[in-house]
Subunit: 207 residues, 2 copies
DNA sequence: CCTACCGATCGGTAGG
DNA sequence: CCTACCGATCGGTAGG
């Protein structure tokens, strides 16, 4: 018997209704969870297989290799951020408005898919070449575009004369705790969270 | 022949002048570097041994196990942060002054020992019990004391009515990019960096 | 501090 | 999708 080639998540979910998840999607989600909790290297294909009720060897009908699972997680999330950036860039809006939307984007994407954003953020260094270089290029592109928006705001006098590079990294990091923390007894709503974080970063702490 | 029991870094460096480093210190520093670059799991004892010009088995004359190397890195850094906290707490100063000093502490400790702070921040989850629980207890203690200072500032009207938990995590994270970035062509001085980051967090971005 | 070695586990393949 | 299996590598020990 022959088995079909692995499909991408997008292809695979195309033929199903929203409620049922393909085996490939189940593997993808279990992998994101395990990579977040234990790290990529500490997650074995046997761990992953057990999580979805298969034997390790059967995983290879869905993904060509372990590193390809990671690659798909990283690429998908890079795309999500880049699409959000694109939507913000085309707006006819002030730099303040754009930066606000970008911070909201980071918060929203993080809360929407906590596990996969964490894996994307922390485990990309285990990508193999040439995928590592391709990923870093996407990231660099995103960072540059982010910094351009900051620069515009500084030039127009909307922002303080900050170093765009430092500000961008500070903002990226400032929402990175969300996926470590925002999972169990979340006593606070996404909207409140956005309001708090935006307030801190845009207006500062001091009264 | 017998070999002496492993000494802690503090003991080991006591008998030497400042310039020469004990083998144990060399192993410790190489481990911090490898853990940061490749991660704990991806670093083998053979990698580590090669880095200091030994065979893997010889490492066990200095550390009882691989996980003990990580434990020492994590514990040492937790101590550094807790000592800094202690110094800030005993000050007769405003909450603004204390929070400023804490942010400076994070920046200074990060720049002082970039690799070991990174390993401490990113690899602690690979600690084995009971050391994992002990570490998390230290961290929880630090976080609580940090949040208490914020709460005091909110109560006294120095700070905006922020959620202390959210603010503390935002501040912790906001300086976490330093060790990923601040190593090679650092075109900016530590003092400038402090000024920029403090400005962003205390006064906000908007002019 | 080394050589030699151990059992366990890894990612992945063959073959059906 | 499974069983069976491979070579490589792992953390760690024995013994000197």
């Amino acid at each position: 018997m022959t088995y079909p080639r692995p499909l991408s998540i997008v292809e695979a979910s195309g033929g199903f209704s929203a409620v049922e998840k393909s085996k490939k999607e189940q593997i993808y989600e279990a992998a994101a969870r395990l990579f977040r909790d234990k790290g990529y290297q500490a997650t074995s294909m046997r761990d992953l297989a057990k999580e979805v009720g298969l034997r390790a060897s059967s995983l290879y009908n869905h993904f060509p290799s372990k590193s390809d699972v990671l690659r798909e997680i990283c690429t998908n999330n890079a795309q999500r951020f880049l699409e959000g950036m694109q939507e913000v860039e085309v707006l006819d809006a002030s730099a303040t408005e754009k930066l606000t939307r970008l911070i909201r984007l980071h918060i929203r994407l993080s809360l929407e898919d906590v596990t996969s954003v964490t894996a994307f953020n922390d485990e990309w260094r285990h990508l193999e070449e040439p995928h590592l270089s391709a990923f870093l290029k996407l990231r660099k592109d995103y960072e540059s575009r982010f910094q351009t928006i900051i620069q515009t705001g500084v030039a127009s006098g909307e922002f303080k004369p900050v170093n765009p590079l430092i500000l961008s990294y500070t903002l990226f990091s400032a929402v990175r705790w969300l996926y470590d923390w925002y999972k169990p007894g979340k006593k606070i709503s996404a909207a409140e969270l956005e309001q708090e974080v935006l307030g801190i970063l845009m207006e500062g702490v001091k009264l």
